[in-house]
């Protein structure tokens, strides 16, 4: 990379189904905490990128009222209307340009204030699909799950196992809200059928929350305690869901290849110590194993069965509980980056995995994970 850029601080609200706080106060808390932890004050020089969404916020220009809580007063702030992982990407670019040394990245939304199923319908093609009223994010994900499971012989137990793992992992994460200690595949399979083959517990329910992260280059990064270096990034977009294969995540594969090349990773399954992936539905984590090169094409189910991705495995995935534990639209991918950084720094408390030196985090948006961002992070 043109400059060495590090994550030097972060903050997350607890994630809740219905937070007793406005979005502005949630953002204020995480922005202030992240700046303080980085040794920065509002009057210091930094740039701000937020991730939020007009539609979910119920107003246009939804970052307009976030200027003050986001610490952006009299600074250059702009927003990414996708996932916070994109906000992190844009902040990184500002630093790589040489114009800035420090960027504050924020992701937030509050699912409790909007009809949470509605945006999942509005994203589809308006000419044909939206008028049919057949596609929503859950039915689309089910079509993706079926295409993947059918192509590679992935079982419902394997998909349910991923959800159970993440629900159990979330029970160790005090910030997560969707958790179940000791969850097992039978319990997940026995929950209400959503769209076959996906049951209710295989979906990562939307919730309220905010997270923030400070990234820096130069003096601040060099002087930082335990900086987490951004070793590689990649991102890619695929086409609309009816015009591409649903059995593979090609945008994630391409993004990972770019990020690995930048980070000097040639054998991800042995060089990556831990991953945090953005799985809106449990089967997507299995597909991500393949796209991230942790296992071969079609081997996601067997790879999961080997136990490698459990929190005591060789390559733990979603030790935080992942999106299953807490899914905040516009923040979920950024939270993955933060959780991965926490593991490298040794800040993860009860969910800390020993010896994490290199970690991967992903952010995905769009129906059936159309767009993907991959970050590769490393310690000293």
């Amino acid at each position: 990379m043109r400059r060495e850029v590090a994550i030097i601080s972060y903050a997350q609200t607890p994630y809740e189904a219905d937070a007793n706080a406005s979005r502005e106060m949630q953002v204020l808390k995480v922005a202030r905490e992240a700046l303080q932890a980085a040794g920065l004050k509002q009057e210091d020089r930094y740039t701000v990128v937020t991730a939020n969404n007009d539609y979910l916020d119920g107003r246009t220009i939804s970052n307009m009222r976030l200027v003050e809580p986001a610490g952006a007063w009299m600074k250059n702030e702009s927003k990414a209307e996708m996932d916070g992982a994109y906000a992190a990407l844009y902040g990184l670019w500002r630093i790589l340009s040489g114009d800035h040394d420090v960027a504050l990245i924020i992701g937030e939304s509050q699912a409790s204030v909007y009809a949470r199923w509605l945006p999942g319908i509005m994203m589809f093609d308006p000419t044909f699909d939206r008028q049919r009223w057949l596609l929503n994010e859950a039915s689309a994900a089910a079509l993706q799950a079926r295409a993947y499971m059918n192509a590679f012989g992935i079982s419902g137990e394997q998909v349910a196992g991923v959800a159970a793992k993440n629900l159990d992992n979330a029970s160790l994460n005090p910030l997560a809200h969707n958790k179940l200690a000791g969850a097992d595949a039978a319990k997940v399979l026995g929950s209400r059928m959503l769209y076959d083959p996906l049951t209710e517990m295989m979906m990562a329910p939307y919730c309220d929350g905010a997270c923030a992260m400070v990234i820096a280059a130069g003096e601040l990064a060099e002087k930082a305690e335990r900086p987490v270096w951004i070793r590689g990034v990649g991102f890619a977009h695929d086409s609309y869901l009816t015009e591409r294969t649903l059995k593979e995540m090609n945008s994630l594969r391409l993004a990972a290849e770019k990020a690995y090349a930048m980070a000097g990773i040639s054998d991800p399954s042995s060089q990556v110590d831990l991953a945090e992936v953005h799985e809106n539905f449990a089967h997507e984590e299995l597909m991500a194993y393949e796209a991230l090169g942790f296992c071969g094409k079609g081997e996601g189910g067997a790879f999961f069965d080997s136990g490698v991705t459990r929190r005591d495995g060789k390559l733990p995935v979603n030790v935080s509980g992942g999106a299953t534990g807490a899914n905040v639209v516009c923040a979920t991918g950024l939270a993955r980056i933060i959780e991965a950084a926490m593991q490298i720094r040794g800040d993860a408390e009860g969910r800390q995995v020993a010896g994490v030196k290199t970690a991967v985090a992903t952010g995905q948006t769009g129906p059936c994970a159309q767009e993907s961002v991959v970050f590769v992070l490393g310690g000293e």
Partner: protein, 161 residues
């Protein structure tokens, strides 16, 4: 501190924001009109891309290769199911249970009609969920009265040869 006044609505203004529908613009109008006229003749028309040869059905006037698909080609009314799902006993928020046949799961299928390269999302009739499979051959089932509506091609049934 003064008691906060809560209102269910912050302010009401007259007007509409057509989120459920769409303001159709030139290409969409031309494309839908052509498609619907073809339905009246029991024909499916797709658009072929001059740049990469991809045939879009439903038709679409822009391609990922950045060319403009402009050649109307007839697409077959038989196709293959490439993926499917069916609704459970519980309805996902916003999608009402009543919208499926009473007591029967609604089977949603992605159909690749022969001669096209994309999926059409349809419902499958005359089959039970346990009878559906990826690779299943299906055919379009036209309604009794074809009015040139997008819903004319909403349903497929197992192919009887």
């Amino acid at each position: 501190m003064a008691e906060m006044e809560y209102k269910k609505e912050t302010r009401s203004v007259e007007g509409s924001w057509p989120m459920e529908h769409w303001s159709w613009k030139f290409e969409s109008i031309a494309l839908i009109s052509k498609t619907r006229e073809a339905f009246k003749e029991k024909k499916l028309l797709g658009l072929k891309c001059p740049g990469c040869g991809l045939v879009y059905f439903p038709p679409k006037p822009y391609c990922r290769c950045m060319s403009e698909p402009d050649e109307w080609v007839e697409v077959k009314q038989q196709g293959t199911i490439t993926t499917y799902t069916f609704t459970g006993a519980w309805a996902y928020e916003g999608i009402k249970e009543e919208e499926g046949p009473a007591g029967e799961p609604l089977i949603i299928v992605g159909v690749n009609f022969d001669g096209s390269d994309t999926l059409t999302v349809c419902t499958l009739g005359e089959a039970k969920p346990e009878e559906v499979f990826v690779g299943m051959r299906v055919q379009l089932k036209w309604p009794e009265n074809i009015e040139g509506r997008l819903d004319d091609i909403a349903h497929v049934v197992p192919l009887r040869e």
